[in-house]
């Protein structure tokens, strides 16, 4: 990693976690960060403050990350360590988080690049000032209560066709094929109806949260739960909400749960990861 003219002799790199708005000291010195050798510290630039850590370059090279990405425990360790520093910094001052693995050869290189981006940091800080991010996940009920009104096709199957003589066993009873198709069609129609209801419900929940939020983003819905405990996730959204309005969210969640019958999970407050990038 010497192509940019950095001194390769010390083998160190600078890992950047986040950028804080205040030039004041950010209390991050006691945090473990992503490496054991050096403390998490601050790096002032352009009247902003970066939260950084000196790490061994070899531990953070592309190959090391590729290995990490295929090991869930390792990935979790680094993701949580990064998140930990970001949230601690945000407790002290307005903070714009960087994603995992932003690295520079040395302090000078880091300061130079970050200074070049100061305008973007300031814009992002202004956007999220006095706001937090809140996650909202909506799960459709496992199996909605069966309709009392059963489709006509199913009713008709109770009228059994006359018993077929033994020597005629291979020939289907008259009307059996039609009844089968009707039954299939009924199942298909109910499935589609359930899906439409779930999507409509997701839109309702989203619309209500948007009324409280300054901005909203959709995240990818999570995959199905192997144990099938949670039901199908029909909405994974996240909202930027003014701190003074965050008290309304719990009430809104309870109200929507009662009116839609869906299970709604509210998580937060998060450092506004989802709202600092330009979209």
């Amino acid at each position: 990693m010497t192509e940019s003219g950095a001194d390769p002799s010390d083998g160190n790199a600078i890992y950047v976690f986040a950028v804080c708005g205040a030039p004041a000291r950010v209390a991050v010195a006691g945090l473990p960060g992503v490496a054991a050798d050096a403390a998490v510290r601050t790096l002032p630039f352009a009247e902003l403050t970066a939260v950084v850590q000196t790490v061994r370059a070899a531990d953070f090279a592309d190959e090391a990350w590729q290995a990490r990405l295929s090991d869930t425990r390792e990935l979790e360790r680094y993701a949580r360590a990064h998140h930990h520093v970001v949230t601690a910094a945000a407790a002290a001052c307005p903070t714009v988080p960087l994603p995992l693995a932003t690295l520079y050869h040395d302090e000078e290189r880091a300061r130079l690049t970050l200074t070049g981006e100061a305008g973007r940091f300031r814009a992002a800080l202004a956007r999220v000032a006095e706001h937090s991010e809140w996650g909202v996940k909506v799960y459709a009920a496992e199996r909605p209560a069966q309709d009392a009104r059963r489709p006509a096709a199913e009713g008709s199957t109770t009228q059994r066709p006359p018993a077929v003589p033994a020597d005629n066993r291979t020939r289907p009873a008259p009307g059996a094929g039609l009844a089968y198709l009707d039954r299939k069609r009924g199942m298909q129609a109910r499935r589609e109806q359930r899906q439409e209801e779930a999507l409509r419900m997701a839109e309702t929940v989203d619309a209500e949260f948007q009324k409280v939020a300054a901005a909203a983003r959709r995240l990818r819905p999570h995959g199905p739960d192997p144990a099938g405990e949670h039901g199908v996730q029909v909405l994974n959204a996240t909202y930027l909400v003014a701190e003074r309005r965050s008290g309304e969210l719990e009430t809104l969640t309870r109200m929507l749960q009662a009116t839609t019958g869906a299970r709604i999970e509210l998580s937060g407050p998060w450092v506004p990861y989802s709202f600092v990038g330009e979209v």
């Binding site: 790199a13 869930t72 994603p99 995992l100 990818r220 450092v271």
Partner: protein
């Protein structure tokens, strides 16, 4: 620095109490303000990775309770799985060697002598 130092330092880490790994990954990996770094790290497959991880991180505890641990034995998701494959092969080879050695011991004395020459 250990977690104990952290607690003694009295840091209050804000954030949701339910810090589900999937929730953290989809923010830490996918979001945040992206600034070009000096060290090129190819996270191009991150999209694919998060989709694959998400299949289980959302519910790893539930799955463990249900005795499902396929991600721990899928080599694509775990380097432990690769190590396990090697250990399995090792064990199998040791067993075969033992079986062969015990067969050698059971050979009549004469034949053994021949076998040794």
């Amino acid at each position: 620095m250990t977690d104990a130092d952290l607690v003694q330092g009295g840091y209050q880490v804000p954030g949701p109490q339910t810090t589900n790994l999937a929730d953290i990954l989809e923010r830490v990996l996918d979001k945040g303000i992206v600034i070009a770094g000096d060290i090129k790290i190819d996270l191009l497959d991150i999209e694919l990775l998060t989709i694959r991880l998400r299949l289980f991180v959302a519910s790893v505890d539930t799955a463990k309770k249900a005795g499902i641990d396929w991600w721990e034995t899928d080599p694509a998701l775990s380097s432990h799985a690769a190590r396990n494959a090697l250990q399995d092969e090792n064990r199998e080879l040791r067993e075969r060697l033992e079986a062969l050695e015990s067969q050698m011991d059971e050979l009549p004395a004469g034949q053994e002598a021949v076998a040794r020459h």
